[in-house]
Amino acid sequence: MNPFKNQTEEVQTSPKVSDEIKQTTCFMCACRCGINVHLLDNKIRYIEGNKNHPTNKGVLCAKGSAGIMQQNSPAKLTKPLLRTGERGKGEFKEIEWSEAMEIATTWLSEIRNTDPKKLAFFTGRDQSQSLTGWWANQFGTCNFAAHGGFCSVNMAAAGLYTIGGSFWEFGEVDWEHTKYFILFGCAEDHHSNPIKMGLGKLKSKDDSKFVSINPIKTGYSAIADEWIGIRPGTDGLLVHSIIYELLKSNKVDWEYLKRYTNSNWLVYNNPGKENHGLFARDENNSPLVYCKDNKKITTTKDQNSNSAFFGKYKYNNLEVIPSFELLSKEYLKPKYKPENISSRIDVEVDVIKRITAEIAETAFEKEIEIKVEWEDFNGKKHSSFKGRPVSMHAMRGISAHSNGFNTCKLIHILQTLLGSIDVPGGFRYKAPYPKHVVPGPKPAGKIVKANTPIGGMPLGFPTSPDDLLTDDNENPLRIDKAYSWENPLSAHGLIHMVINNAWKGDPYKIDVLFMYMANMAWNSSMNTKETIKKLTDKDKDTGEYKIPKIIYSDAYYSETVPYADLVLPDTTFLERWDCISLLDRPISSADSAADAIRQPIIKPSRDVKPFQDVLIELGARLGLPGFVNEDFSAKFPNGYSDYIVNHERQPGVGPLAGWRGDGNEFGKGAINKNQIHEYIDNGCFHSHEFSENQKYFKFTNKAYLNFAHEMGWIAKNEPIVMQLYSEEMQKFRLAGEGFGKKIPPDHLKERIIKYFDPIPSWYQPFEEKLNADNNKIYELYAVTQRPPHMYHSWGSQNAWLRQITNLNYLYISKHIAKTNNLKNFDWVWLESFSSKIKVQCKIMQGVNKNTVWTWNAIGKRKGAWNLSPDAPESNKSFLLNHLISDVLSNASNKNSIISNSDPITGQAAWYDLKVKIYKCSDEENDGKIYPSFEIIKNNSRRNISINDYGKQFPKEYSKNNLTKIKEFIGNSKNIK
């Protein structure tokens, strides 16, 4: 060959892409997009978004595309493990599944035969909670929850207790029609592709505006038309100020309030009495309004009455007041004037006023109309859906504060005052929402008995103190103290308190802690260092671990694996069946009710089993009623796919809603043996599109409500009335004042009275209050943001994603740099009430001047996830978790230590963190992160120095098999 002669390349432009395309649902995060997996030679060639899928419509994020590397991760567990050394050392022996199941069954059956609550069963970010919760119910333990108490419960609960739907996964912006979109805080997590698609759509319109309210300008905030760098934890004050301005200027939708909310309902004004603040009701328990036309008190059912928003009236000789008078009186207090708020939230008065004017103008002067005939629940026919095109979304940045529930409620109240809930251009519910406020059922678990189910799902929605899970002395019944007086509405449980409470034996000791996919020994705990200690702490007298037995299931060697006594290795998401059900958190959109499955795409080459199969088998081995037939044979011998098709929660209602009965029924219908194949043939999802007249005003839309009732999504076929004034909150407050059968313990009375407010208002986050009471030592705020390409802990081990981000700095404002004499890459101490960390800082401008921040969950423990011990994640990266206390130890009342959580929902308050910063001294400046942790031993570590994924596929590309020029010249390092 003459190398100096130009050679033309023959490019193969139509190589074979795949032998087969299999469709399933992505699980690289909580977004649940549809994916097409291209298989070539039985290996994954390419993963792309499914164009027909209602969630992602063909697009796919960085995490989704990196699914190939997740499947090929060297951190995958390979066989069941039994601990041989001390807990935390990572010393295990491999055992067979038969032995593993035998051990688990023995441990669990002992508990079930004596005291089932000695099992604490907590799962992480799994998507099978309708199965796991039901399993806990059948086992008979009240001690069950998932990751929501750490993550989302403030958003879910605030919405469900106010408007019957919520941000998070139960609602979405009407991206098609909205003209003004306000995003509160970091939201680069749940629902991530739909939000990105929506932002793209919104920004492409000329008459639109996107406002981001976030202390930090990253991700979505970077493309906002206006960024408002608010002080963390004060969003509620901003909302107050906006509401103040709107009310003062009469910019509210009175008609909407009158028709669809409880604004006119009459409330007893009877201070110091048992009915004070409750709604006046007639003999049929129907709430009452004052009709201005005939000057009479009448039932709310008479919707045509011209009912009063204001005034004082008499009912049964007691004074009654429309709830709106109470609400507006509170919200018009001078303390909410922009002039009085501005300096507390770091937003200028003019900005607050201008944003409010823009919201009002968009809502009331840019009304939009969709011409569709529809009928409301009162039989009134409408020729169009009219909408006020202002929309809002909030998630992490609101949720993870101790005032998150009230802040989120305030946002919903703002939306309602504008008349922008479930209208064109506003915020829309996703099926099976809206539900009646407050949705059923109540939490089960008041009675826990040997060998007996608890009689319902462990998680639910209390509406009064009677629904709490407390004993006769008002002590908590659950190990995490959910549904107790400490956090009465903890609708997702408190996973973050389980280890602490089980270790302390408070309220009682447990025997087995059973966890799935919850990285509690690292980034899913507050105060990680102490949490780890509690997992290994032993009773001085007996020498036994204080938490006697730990069973853990995960697909990967996470930081939590070494702390388990028995490890049940799970499959990856591409190797399993799964069900994303309308009974749990489905993939619905506002236009359609939809659910989905995952199907096994490839066969695991390891000795692992899908956790759900294991749980179903354990259920059968333990003889749990729902999991065995009458002769005690296994009810679902073929595992989860068997359960998905054949389980019925109620007659005709199963995990999947599509293709029931003869294959043509949706929602309700007999078991269809072919159902799962129908899902597979349809891309692993089913979507039921609502008719055009069902799509908006769902809370009053007759066609929609009839359908929702028929489907069993709502318990009664009645309109859903948004509860601006919350009687449920008042019932708890009254209990705090000593009324009713259940009264809080003395040390919690003040707390209940203070925070259970029927009219939500902002209060200082707890750690802020603590700081104010302690000479203001910690004046700075510390929060995290989520890298959109990597927000779940298992992402950072990914060979591709970790090339994008593998270390995090502490980002500080110019103001902080100046006042503390800091420059880029200085090593600093960041100190909180409970701990301190040593990290490197970087200065930036797009951040609130009093705030420091970092990326969430980049830091990894040395040895975990099969990363090499010198990985930057373990040597240069850090978690803020070490600084965040799990308990409020300095709480004003020293009688009890209370979790660092929202006082209403128990949501972990990990965004409340207050800190101070100072340069580390020359002696301390060793270039190392503090704290550092002992390396985790992992006997199965595999060293991979080169990733050449793709090489294995047959190469049709290069046709000319010539000697390569560089080999001819002789400069190749590989020359043979």
Binding site: V11, S204, K248, N250, D350, A357, N947, S958
Partner: protein, 246 residues
């Protein structure tokens, strides 16, 4: 040295909308995923689980702050890959003819069989868009998914580069920028799309769309209160509002 084609029948390229790119890296990872098993397979990663993981990426997202004392800062997400220049210096500098521009569509490719890994092209490229594969010892780069955009094994609607089909925000478009009647050409016209670093005189095919300048859509920057009194009482407000709330 290597010649550029005398004419180009098409100018295939990308248009990237900086107004809506949220910097999520979806395009970068999808590109990596397609191409590691594609024309330039594999895109090696070295030390993927170690101290300094590095690999070949045809598309990288740079996020940075532009500071300004007057207007505060702007956070920019800037995706960057080969711009398939008409006057591509990476081609003319190539000593072996391995780096070449296709006459039929303007795509700049590297022939792995004739590349000697001398890296002259990466020195010549003003955009830093070339990717040297240490393990393979040859230069690699964005192929505009040449094995996808013409691939008859894929449905026609899927014949676009991986970065375009995956972008969640819809910030990426693909087409013939040499055709004045194409959608993509019109998009560039309409949005004042620009060349990256025109002073380098490479005539890049790819274009960037700047953030939209939005006209002030709102008539007022504050609301007028129903009560003139700045220190109004609730009772006075209520008296005024009562009739409005009918």
């Amino acid at each position: 040295m290597t010649s550029l084609p005398k004419k180009q029948n098409k100018k295939l390229g990308l248009v990237i909308d900086l107004d809506i790119c949220v910097g999520c890296h979806a395009c970068a990872v999808s590109c990596k995923e397609w191409n590691t098993s594609g024309h330039s397979s594999p895109l090696h990663d070295i030390d993927p689980y170690g101290d300094d993981p590095t690999g070949v990426w045809f598309n990288r997202i740079h996020t940075f702050e532009v500071e300004s004392e007057i207007n505060g800062s702007k956070t920019v997400h800037f995706p960057k890959s080969c711009l398939h220049c008409s006057d591509a210096p990476c081609v003319t500098v190539c000593p072996t003819g391995a780096s070449y521009k296709r006459e039929e569509d303007g795509i700049v490719l590297v022939n792995p069989d004739t590349c000697i890994g001398c890296k002259l092209c990466s020195w010549a490229c003003p955009y830093g868009a070339r990717e040297y594969d240490e393990e393979a010892g040859i230069m690699k780069k964005c192929t505009l998914c040449v094995d996808k955009i013409y691939n008859e094994n894929l449905p026609e609607s899927d014949r676009v580069p991986a970065c375009v089909s995956t972008c969640p925000a819809g910030a990426r478009s693909f087409g013939d920028l040499g055709d004045e009647n194409s959608e993509i050409f019109k998009l560039v016209e309409e949005r004042n799309g620009y060349d990256l670093m025109p002073e380098q005189e490479c005539a890049p095919t790819n274009k960037y769309l700047p953030p939209r300048e939005k006209n002030d859509q709102f008539s007022s920057d504050k609301l007028s209160s129903v009560t003139q009194d700045n220190d109004f009482t609730f009772e006075t407000w209520k008296e005024i509002i009562k009739d409005a709330s009918k």
